[in-house]
């Protein structure tokens, strides 16, 4: 009665329910559905290989996301010319001084476009915290950076996102001046 080995069906029962979230996060991080599919599949294969070492009491969802983040990181260089974070600092400065109100109703397409415009590192932090609702500590573990770095990426990423949305409002001629 104590000899049950971890089996594929057990792994599938605990790990596969997280598939939609993993795919959606991958799709937003990569901006490409086909690559997201590949990455998610690779994530599951990696996870299965290390399932026997999966530490008791650990959160399976966070563990899968960490593997996903690592897998994406591994492919990043070959797939992308990532926009450097420094490029966005200028935008950040601009949006900080002239904040227009965020429009009352934001179309999904618009908010996704604003998200896509964020540099990859900021986008990852915002997605993991605000959409997938991981704690800052969990995100630090996934991205393998100090928690302070997570907080700073989040702060800048969220501010940029708001800036993009205000920009949208301004382009529609809504609300000229912020607070």
């Amino acid at each position: 009665m104590f000899s049950k080995h971890p089996r594929t069906d057990e792994f599938e029962t605990v790990a596969l329910p997280h598939l939609p979230e993993l795919y959606r996060t991958a799709a937003r991080l990569l901006g490409d559905g086909a690559k997201a599919e590949d990455v998610v599949q690779e994530t599951y294969l990696q996870a299965w290989k290390s399932f026997a070492r999966f530490a008791p009491g650990t959160n399976c969802r966070a563990w899968l996301f960490k593997i996903l983040v690592n897998t994406i990181h591994h492919h990043r260089r070959s797939w992308f010319n990532l926009r450097r974070i420094e490029d966005s600092e200028e935008i950040l400065e601009q949006t900080a001084v002239c904040a227009a109100p965020v429009p009352e109703r934001i179309a999904r397409e618009q908010i996704l476009r604003a998200l896509n415009a964020l540099p990859a590192d900021y986008r990852a932090a915002v997605l993991l915290a605000d959409v997938d609702e991981f704690s800052y500590k969990e995100i630090a573990g996934m991205l393998d950076v100090p928690i302070g770095t997570v907080m700073s990426r989040l702060s800048r990423g969220r501010k940029l996102l708001r800036g993009q949305l205000s920009e949208l409002a301004r382009s529609y001629g809504i609300g000229e001046v912020g607070t």
């Binding site: 009665m1 080995h5 937003r28 299965w48 965020v102 996704l112 605000d130 800052y136 702060s155 969220r158």
Partner: protein, 275 residues
């Protein structure tokens, strides 16, 4: 906008994410109560977050992806080996305890037979009834590890089970305490679920006491134990309920905990069923 507003706004996102230390959270809350502008700003940020979640979650997942992954997993037939050393120790401890406990509890003439019966598929299926909810609700759901106040848990449980809460709490050894208690559903079945955790967050234990109404053909007359992956599942029946103690503790601790909770649960359910 003044300094207080600047200060509060610097914390609004962390406030929404529940990442602020308690003292700062209270300060921000006080400011929000007094400042309509910052309240409006908080509302805007919360709205952006909800819209962002809705937008990302509306992304369709390719229908064939799950099938593709299942196939890849089955093709990739390298079954990882468990840590046999630890496993053997846990198993040995469990077997010894089972012999002793089953002997005491069931007054069995031949405890080996009783243990052997536990390996049957039917019992595994019954024990899995409880394991499903533990996995679904306590382990992998995004439930907050936050400890709720007794009054909140009592409200979540409702009058039927609220009285059971202090009795369970009284039986918990060491640093274990009930952190959440509620009714939940997994696989179309209703459960009453007490989530129990150790006080130390970093190396805390996670335990579920799970009650569910017995369905036809389900029976756990003794105290039965199995281990599935890293989980210890101990189950027993009480009146028209099945009860489970599921944990990431070792076999011995798990069985001891179940044995100390069983009389309380049985007594309560007997009175509950009668009343």
């Amino acid at each position: 906008m003044n300094t207080a507003c600047d200060n509060a706004r610097g914390h609004l996102d962390a406030y929404l994410s529940r990442e602020l230390p308690e003292e700062t959270r209270q300060e921000v809350q006080l400011h929000l109560a007094a400042c309509p502008q910052c309240s409006a700003e908080l509302e805007t940020r919360a709205r952006i977050r909800t819209e962002l979640q809705d937008a990302v979650r509306a992304t369709p997942v390719p229908t064939g992806l799950e099938v593709k992954i299942r196939r890849a997993l089955n093709d990739n037939d390298k079954v990882p080996r468990p840590r046999t050393g630890l496993w053997a120790v846990a198993a040995a401890a469990g077997v010894i305890l089972c012999v002793v406990l089953v002997g005491i509890l069931r007054n069995e003439a031949n405890p080996e037979e009783a243990i052997l019966r536990k390996t049957s598929g039917r019992l595994a299926a019954v024990l899995n009834v409880g394991l499903r909810d533990h996995l679904h609700c306590a382990v992998f759901r995004k439930y907050s590890k936050q400890s709720l106040a007794a009054s909140e848990m009592a409200a979540d449980l409702g009058p039927g089970f609220a009285d059971l809460l202090p009795r369970i709490q009284a039986k918990l050894p060491g640093d274990l305490r009930v952190i959440q208690a509620h009714h939940c559903e997994a696989g179309g079945r209703q459960y009453t679920h007490f989530i129990i955790a150790g006080a130390r967050k970093d190396r805390g234990k996670l335990v579920s006491l799970i009650l569910t109404r017995r369905q036809s053909g389900e029976s756990l007359p003794g105290i039965d134990q199995t281990s599935v992956d890293r989980f210890q599942v101990v189950g027993f029946e009480s009146h028209d309920y099945l009860a489970f103690v599921i944990s990431d503790m070792d076999a011995q601790q798990s069985l001891q905990l179940a044995a100390s909770l069983a009389p309380t649960v049985r007594e309560y359910l007997a009175a509950h069923a009668a009343g």
